[in-house]
């Protein structure tokens, strides 16, 4: 075959080309696997395109036939309803577009809070389950098996109805150190920055940069000389110390807005609404059980020989865990951990069951109803969860590739 091809270009006899070779050289395109697969892919794509086109066209035609208005114009109209909790300025006069932002930020808030708490709790529980201490490991096992096997919605209801609803009324609030706990939420004094607080913020960022430089320098020094430097303690000292010193020097420029019982509720301070607390507890505790199992799997995946080798080198137990076991375990832990983060974010939409104003409750709930633009609103909501999930997994994939074993 190959000789045929190389010969086809020139005729060694110099005469006119004989018409016998070509049929073999140019197979029919359906006999060429490359072209054939290309053809099938094009066919598949166009069929898929047609399906989507028909669905969209069908929907639009039907909507028009039924006299249902479509489009995104509604986003600029005045919303006219209140929202219980907003991280940005929101009033009834804001637009429907703003309700989207408010809901989105509330969703991101609960997702971040949940991921933070679930990760810490999950790691502790995962390590605890492997502990040699019988009590600790059994307690962790019981926790995991209990919370993993109860539906999340029930857990949310438990925290909301059974725990937080039974708290006293605002007038009989429980008080600790200027904070109040009642069935309207947890009310804490709000910090108010006064003149000169900017210096403290500046100091904090300076300390961050400083500790990054220190860690670079110490790494270099260790590579060159083998001497170690207590980077962690030095950085901690910098990050806590510098802002603290500046804070004292500039005369403590931070006021507190103390909550006060006026009329029906507390005025001033920051109120953490019970819906947020219930959702946060339920999401963190539920997801932590799964993360704990992931962590346990990761640690068990590191062969015992590694620990023995570390012991043979004279490393302490803590150092073995920190420098040998955990870095290797992370390779196994990160991919399933990403799934748990994604689950938590998506599960946060159960907020609507207890009235926490997240994206689904505010935007795909009230806004959808008041405007009637179901398709647009649901499409936007789905796009948000898709984007959040893709961002999370992109970040986690980046982190995963960073901590992979570098093979030399």
């Amino acid at each position: 075959m190959s000789s045929d091809i190389s010969n086809s270009g020139h005729n060694p006899e110099g005469g006119p080309a004989k018409p016998k070779a070509p049929p073999q050289n140019k197979p029919k395109f359906w006999n060429d696997p490359k072209k054939r697969s290309l053809l099938f892919q094009v066919l598949l794509l166009s069929a898929l395109g047609f399906v989507f086109y028909s669905i969209i066209d069908n929907t639009l035609t039907n909507l028009e036939q039924r006299g249902i208005t479509t489009g995104f114009d509604f986003l600029t109209e005045e919303a006219g309803f209140g929202i219980a909790m907003s991280l940005i300025d929101y009033t009834e006069a804001s637009s429907y577009g703003m309700t989207f932002i408010v809901g989105l930020m509330n969703t991101i808030l609960i997702a971040l809070m949940g991921i933070f708490a679930a990760t810490i709790l999950g790691f502790l529980l995962g390590v605890a389950r492997l502990s040699d201490n019988w009590l600790i490991s059994k307690a962790s096992t019981i926790y995991i098996e209990t919370f993993r096997n109860i539906p999340l919605l029930l857990q949310i209801f438990f925290w909301y109805y059974a725990v937080l609803r039974t708290l006293p009324h605002p007038r009989q609030s429980m008080e600790f150190f200027g904070t109040f706990l009642n069935n309207r939420g947890f009310i804490v004094p709000a910090p108010v920055a006064e003149d000169g607080f900017g210096v403290v913020v500046f100091g904090f960022f300076a300390a961050l940069i400083g500790s990054w430089l220190i860690s670079r320098w110490s790494k270099k020094r260790q590579e060159l000389t083998g001497q170690q430097f207590p980077v962690f303690w030095a950085s901690l000292g910098l990050i806590v110390g510098i802002p603290l010193v500046l804070f004292m020097l500039s005369g403590m420029p931070l006021g507190l807005d103390h909550p006060e019982l006026k009329g029906f509720n507390f005025k001033g301070g920051i109120t953490v609404i019970p819906e947020l607390i219930a959702l946060w507890f339920a999401l963190s505790i539920y997801t932590a059980a799964f993360i704990a199992e992931t962590v346990r799997a990761g640690i068990l995946a590191v062969s015992h020989g590694q620990t023995e080798a570390a012991t043979a080198l004279g490393m302490s137990k803590a150092k073995t865990l920190r420098l040998i076991v955990i870095p290797q375990a992370l390779r196994v832990v990160i991919p399933p951990l990403t799934s748990q983060y994604l689950n938590l974010t998506k599960n946060s939409s159960l907020a609507t069951a207890i009235g926490y104003p997240d994206l689904v409750n505010v935007f795909a709930g009230t806004t959808l109803n008041q405007t009637g633009q179901a398709i647009e609103v649901i499409a936007m909501t789905m796009a948000v969860y898709l984007t959040l999930s893709l961002l999370t997994s992109t970040f986690m994939n980046w982190y995963n590739s960073r901590i992979q074993l570098t093979e030399r």
């Binding site: 909507l63 006299g67 179901a374």
Partner: protein
């Protein structure tokens, strides 16, 4: 791929299937009306201990069934929350939405639906605990208010408080039941909804006598049955089923005396209503005695009112705005001729 194609085709078929068909034919073929109701608002639509649906909104669907099939039991009730209701109607999941739904311009003109009348004139009010000693909604400054999401109630409250310069925190729940419970357990200082529903939900609270309504009624809430836009025959059937109940009350025809009236009455209005004379079921593709069946099996509007929300019920509401026009109310049906 095959699977994708099949499911996509199914999806398209499903979307095409619910297109503008004759609702009446569909209903007759199915042998039952699918009626969207609340998941439980006493007096309007609530299942009793045997699972039978009861209420003013329920009776309206039964009346339509009596008119179409001559059998008021041929109704399938589908409980919906406020958010689901219009989608369920427009997508063809239900034939009539009879679910304490307020008639507004946006809903009537932009959602592809039609309101077929008003079976209850309502207004929005506020429930509070008596122990607070409140006299007016204007004293609610700073209060937390429980409310159901996706309702006109939510907007009315925001409008009213804004106009009065009162600050408040809304806590929004999926169903009115949840909102009422939250108020009952102290999560909110007040609970706002249409007064008729408030009266019903109040009966379910731990101590109904400790809860009272503030005097202000802050909105107009004409509640009525809703049908899909674009099917005029079905629209007419629902509209006239309601009108027949009103006319029957006006003429003094009840479920108890309808047979006697049919046999004996010489009043031409009565004769037209029971189907002996006049337009009968023509133009709506209904049997001649459609209105007779409604009165016989469901009763007139007054009967339905009294047994569901009026004196004969735990709610004990006055007729008020819902009295007939000739008795000082707003209920006025066009004549049947």
């Amino acid at each position: 791929m095959k699977k994708t194609l099949i499911s996509a085709t199914a999806l398209m078929a499903a979307m095409a299937g619910t297109a503008m068909a004759g609702t009446l034919e569909n209903v007759q073929e199915r042998g039952a009306i699918q009626c969207g109701v609340t998941s439980g608002v006493p007096g309007f639509s609530v299942p009793d201990d045997k699972g039978n649906w009861k209420g003013l909104d329920v009776d309206l669907c039964r009346a339509v069934a009596a008119a179409v099939f001559g059998d008021a039991t041929k109704v399938k009730f589908i409980p919906l929350n406020a958010k689901e209701r219009f989608t369920a109607l427009v997508s063809g999941e239900i034939d009539v939405l009879s679910r304490v739904t307020t008639w507004t311009q946006t809903r009537d003109t932009q959602l592809g639906i039609n309101f077929a009348g008003v079976n209850y004139y309502d207004g929005q009010g506020f429930l509070v605990k008596n122990e607070l000693g409140l006299k007016s909604v204007k004293e609610l400054d700073g209060a937390t208010v429980c409310v159901q999401s996706g309702t006109t109630t939510e907007l009315n409250m925001a409008d009213y408080f804004r106009a009065q310069g009162i600050s408040y925190t809304p806590v929004v729940f999926d169903t009115n039941d949840q909102a009422a419970q939250a108020f009952d357990s102290g999560r909110c200082d007040s609970f706002t909804t249409d007064l008729s529903q408030a009266a019903g939900l109040r009966t379910r609270m731990q101590d109904p006598s400790s809860v009272g309504a503030l005097p202000e009624v802050i909105s107009k809430e004409p509640l009525g049955p809703v049908v899909r836009q674009g099917d005029d025959t079905w629209f007419n059937i629902v509209k006239w089923s309601h009108n027949a109940m009103l006319n029957a009350e006006e003429l003094g025809i009840t479920s108890a005396n309808v047979d006697k009236m049919k046999a004996e009455s010489t009043n031409p209005n009565v004769k037209r209503l029971v189907g002996l004379d006049g337009p009968k079921g023509k133009g709506m593709d209904l049997p001649d005695d459609w209105a007779y069946q409604i009165v016989k099996q469901v009763g007139n509007y007054g009967e339905a009112y009294e047994r569901n929300v009026g004196k004969g019920s735990p709610l004990g509401l006055e007729r008020g705005l819902n009295a007939l026009w000739n008795q000082g109310g707003l209920q006025y049906a066009p004549p049947m001729r």
